[in-house]
């Protein structure tokens, strides 16, 4: 590997988006094919990351380092370890699906739509591979812009409200994080190097304050209860592609932030505040699960289900054992596939019916058998059925939680019941039964494009559920290293 793979992963989609913008919205088909080509190219350049990854070490790999803003000692410093590498692949993969999924639905400002997704994909690859705090922050914050545009331009009726709420909510957290980053810079004698920060000694009080600032940024992004309220709005109003990227990748940024920043930089504060984090996670798992149960809007239901599943992820991180953290990471990847698939399924129905209300449906299986089969698989995966990817992560986290404390594990396990309840009940009301009304009677089954997208995701969900070893194997060394790191006090 003599070429900068990570830089390619970041800049291929972003630079590829520029000709799209230049083409404008006149030649739609050309724009679509070009966007697909860029997305596929963006995915292909990330493949060597997996193939050439050295599984034996926890050190950063594929490192690129060059001075960027020397005055503040900021570097263009990229690298991945076993924790972050999978997210880059996931992100680039999902981008391809999003481009295909938006093929026919989006007819206005096609070029800008595709370009926004491609740019966002590049920016998010940047977040996952930055090892310089300012570089991370720059990507982290810049990724808000395309999402704001996507929700606001192609969204539903109250898109403006949702777009502002999304942007301002996330901005508040990240601005506080910025102050913490600057403080750390001064403590570290003028270095923004994350790896150096991992070794930095810190007193308890600053650790806790910095933890709170990081929490503001990452908890909003995850989102954790009680700062989750932007997510249902954003999901409901966003176009299908926006919801997919939001759920599959953007929510992972917050969780990733906890593993990359909070745990290794602030181990003592993390241990000290772990009970709070565990409590908030359990509230998300149980309470939000109940909230999901009563939703009448499918997208809202899946949004709440996402919050509940992400509660599992934060729970896994803050019980500090190997199986918990690995489970949480597996859960992140798996949720990336499943939530993307669930939102795409709702999107498929919405494109035909222009309604997301569960009450407007019923008996869809009679008209769309192929679709119903896929939807079934993903609904099962969402409720954690064994042999789907949803099971692996949840099971590992529950095991880890029981090791940590029986009652924590017990509470977490409630999700298996709740998840099955809200997902399958929705599935039953939408898909089964007699054809509910004339609109449902006019439904047509999925076209080959939709089939392709759902089939790709189905393969991913099943493969990960049956044989998760390739996923856990790659993260093993890094998680091990992380745990050793967290166990060491910095006081």
């Amino acid at each position: 590997m003599n070429y900068p793979i990570l830089s390619l992963a970041i800049w291929v989609p972003i630079i590829g988006a520029l000709p799209l913008l230049a083409l404008g919205s006149e030649r739609r088909d050309l724009v679509r094919w070009l966007a697909l080509a860029v997305a596929i190219a963006g995915f292909l350049v990330t493949l060597p990351l997996y193939l050439e990854f050295d599984r034996g070490t926890a050190a950063m790999q594929f490192i690129e380092q060059a001075p960027w803003i020397e005055r503040f000692n900021i570097h263009y410093f990229l690298g991945v370890d076993g924790i972050s590498v999978l997210f880059i692949l996931l992100n680039s993969f999902i981008t391809v699906l999003v481009v295909i999924a938006g093929w026919q639905i989006i007819n206005e400002k096609v070029a800008q739509y595709m370009a926004a997704f491609l740019i966002m994909s590049g920016l998010m690859n940047g977040i996952f591979s930055s090892l310089d705090a300012v570089l991370f922050y720059v990507f982290f914050e810049a990724s808000l812009i395309p999402m704001y545009i996507i929700i606001g331009v192609w969204g539903g009726p109250s898109r403006v409200y949702a777009a502002f709420k999304f942007f301002l909510y996330t901005l508040l957290g990240s601005l506080l994080m910025l102050v913490a980053l600057i403080y750390l810079f001064i403590q570290a004698d003028g270095s923004f190097n994350l790896l150096y920060w991992h070794q930095l000694r810190l007193e308890m009080t600053p650790q806790i304050l910095i933890f709170v600032a990081f929490f503001a940024a990452f908890a909003v992004k995850v989102p954790m209860w009680p700062v989750h309220t932007w997510l249902p709005d954003a999901h409901v109003e966003a176009p299908t592609g926006g919801s997919v990227v939001l759920a599959a990748i953007m929510l992972k940024l917050g969780a990733y932030g906890f593993v990359r920043f909070s745990l290794p930089i602030l181990p003592d504060a993390s241990h000290f505040l772990a009970p709070m984090m565990i409590a908030l996670s359990l509230i998300a798992v149980v309470y939000i699960g109940f909230v999901a149960l009563v939703q009448a809007d499918m997208k809202k239901l899946i949004a709440y289900s996402s919050i509940s599943h992400m509660g599992f992820v934060t729970l896994g991180f803050f019980i500090f054992n190997q199986i918990g953290i690995e489970g949480a990471l597996v859960q992140m990847i798996s949720h990336g596939f499943i939530s993307a698939a669930m939102f795409l399924c709702v999107g498929v129905m919405y494109d035909r019916m222009h309604s997301r209300q569960i009450a407007d449906y019923g008996g869809v299986v009679n008209r769309m058998p192929k679709f119903a089969a896929f939807f079934m698989l993903f609904a099962m995966a969402n409720s954690g059925l064994p042999a789907t990817s949803g099971f692996v992560g949840e099971f590992m986290v529950i095991l880890g939680a029981i090791k940590f404390n029986f009652w924590v594990g017990f509470c977490a396990a409630i999700t298996l019941i709740l998840g099955a309840a809200y997902t399958l009940w929705m599935y039953k009301r939408v898909v089964f039964g007699a054809v509910a009304n004339d609109h449902v009677a006019e439904l047509t089954d999925i076209c080959w494009r939709e089939f392709l997208v759902l089939a790709l995701l189905a393969v991913a969900v099943l493969a990960m559920g049956v044989y998760p070893f390739p996923f856990t194997d790659i993260m093993h060394a890094s998680v091990d290293n992380l745990l050793q790191h967290v166990a060491m006090s910095k006081l």
Binding site: I69, F72, V138, E141, I145, G152, V160, F164, V179
Partner: protein, 491 residues
């Protein structure tokens, strides 16, 4: 009588002298050239600016910094700021040309007043004596009063000019009073000698602080920070947009130079006192500016309040030089270069934002309400993108120059231990993000109400595009500008 007259060294002041001569030439040309004067005055003004830029560039690093018996200084800061003044004036002239021509205001007086204002700014920037400073300030201010009222049939502009004049005269009086106090205490008008006198500690502290308070009030008025900001929105609103553009750009650089020369070079011995004042004004400006901007329906007023908050941010850096404890020279240098970087970045952004307002205006129609930006993305995707860049940059979202400027200011303030102030500033800039995002919302999310094509001369379009790209690219490549600021201050 003339036996003890020594001919001063004129070389350091060559640009000023050249500009004076050119102004006189243009005055004569405008008077006698008859029908072709329209064709001559504009280009001649540009030639004058270009000549000044050339001379300033040539004079970089001149070994004889002081001339006119120590009243005039020629150093790195002066050259640096002057170059940006020429650039800002040049851009203001190009942006404003079409607008003024449509309204029959592009008369010889306009060019002359702009040149005299420029001369005033140059004198202020190079002032090393209270007297020179005051002369430059009055030259600038009187030209600006006249410029605001250049459309003499407009009642709104006349009212704005009157308001500006009355308040400006009061502020000049305050400044002059403060200067006289300090003169009384130290016995000298020369800034470097005042600093020496303060260091010697012979002057009466009470008188000095009394004078300082008036001095700071005068500076605050020129910068337009709370509580001396009342004139800003009214003048910005009332003046023809091309004039507003001029007032909102280059004079800020001169006011910054005034603050730097008087407070840092002159009254550094009283830093503890003026830092408290600046801190208070900074927090108030950031708070009030951002809050009041939300309520504006008129984009010129909105940008006025946004300017107030930006000046507050700049003061935040200026006061971070050495708050509390020992004066750390390197840290002070960092803080002042951050302030300088911020003011330059602000001027570039502000030119672009007002430039876009001018772009949308046409004969008989002022595009000055926020609604006029509705659906700009459909009328002109390129300029909507440019405006989005300006707005995001002002909001301090990464990848644009505004973020890096804000970042360096926050860094300086945190280094000075002002974390509480920084958190307040950051929260208000979150509030501020709302109204910048609203402009983007209008441009991208809403449908256009006005379908008139955008007519503007090619030079304006090119310059505005260059302006937008500069704001976008000076972000990632900001190292050059930051270093230049630092180098200028070091000399």
């Amino acid at each position: 009588m003339l036996s003890n007259f020594v001919m001063p060294d004129l070389i350091p002041a060559a640009p000023e002298l050249f500009l004076t001569i050119m102004a006189c030439v243009i005055l004569l040309v405008d008077l006698f050239a008859g029908s072709i004067r329209r064709l001559l005055t504009g280009p001649l003004t540009l030639v004058a600016l270009f000549g000044c830029a050339l001379m300033t560039w040539q004079g970089f690093g001149d070994p004889t910094p002081l001339t006119f018996s120590g009243m005039f200084i020629h150093d790195g800061v002066a050259d640096f700021l002057k170059l940006f003044v020429y650039l800002a004036v040049f851009m203001a002239l190009v942006y404003g040309r079409g607008y003024l021509a449509d309204r029959g205001l592009d008369k010889g007086e306009y060019y002359l007043l702009v040149l005299f204002a420029t001369l005033g700014m140059m004198v202020m920037i190079s002032a090393n004596s209270f007297l020179t400073m005051y002369l430059g300030l009055e030259m600038l201010s009187l030209s600006l009063y006249a410029l605001v009222a250049i459309d003499r049939d407009s009642t709104r502009a006349t009212e704005a000019a009157m308001k500006y004049f009355v308040l400006g005269a009061l502020a000049s009086g305050l400044l002059l009073y403060g200067m006289s106090m300090i003169y009384g205490a130290t016995g000298t008008l020369e800034i470097s000698l005042v600093a020496q006198a303060l260091q010697a500690g012979v002057a009466s502290k009470t008188v000095l602080i009394f004078g300082l308070a008036f001095l700071v009030a005068g500076i605050a008025f020129k910068l337009g920070v709370v509580p001396f900001h009342m004139w800003v929105p009214d003048v910005y609103h009332g003046a023809p947009t091309a004039i507003t553009l001029f007032i909102a750009s280059a004079p800020k650089l001169a006011a910054f130079a005034m603050a730097l020369r008087l407070l840092v070079s002159g009254l550094y011995g009283l830093a503890e006192q003026w830092q408290m004042m600046l801190m208070l004004m900074a927090v108030l400006s950031i708070g009030l500016g951002n809050l009041a901007a939300i309520a504006q329906r008129n984009i010129k007023r909105m940008l006025a309040y946004s300017g107030i908050s930006h000046m507050g941010f700049m003061l935040l850096a200026l006061m971070s030089g050495s708050v509390g404890g020992e004066a750390d020279l390197m840290r002070a240098l960092d803080a002042y270069s951050a302030a300088m970087y911020y003011i330059v970045a602000y001027v570039i952004m502000s030119l672009g934002a007002f430039g876009t307002v001018l772009l949308l205006s046409r004969a008989g129609y002022e595009a000055e309400n926020l609604e006029d930006f509705k659906g700009l993305n459909e009328r002109s995707p390129w300029f909507a993108l440019m405006m989005m860049i300006f707005m995001l940059s002002m909001a301090g979202i990464p990848f644009f120059v505004g973020f890096f400027a804000k970042f360096s200011v926050l860094l300086a303030a945190v280094a000075a231990g002002q974390i509480a102030v920084v958190v307040i500033a950051v929260i208000f800039s979150l509030i501020g993000a709302f109204y910048y995002l609203r402009v983007i919302k209008l441009m991208y999310f809403d449908a256009p109400t006005d379908s008139a094509p955008i007519l503007a001369s090619m030079d304006m379009k090119i310059l505005l595009s260059a302006n937008g790209l500069a704001v976008a690219l000076l972000g990632p490549f900001s190292d050059v500008l930051i270093r230049a600021c630092r180098l200028a201050l070091l000399s």
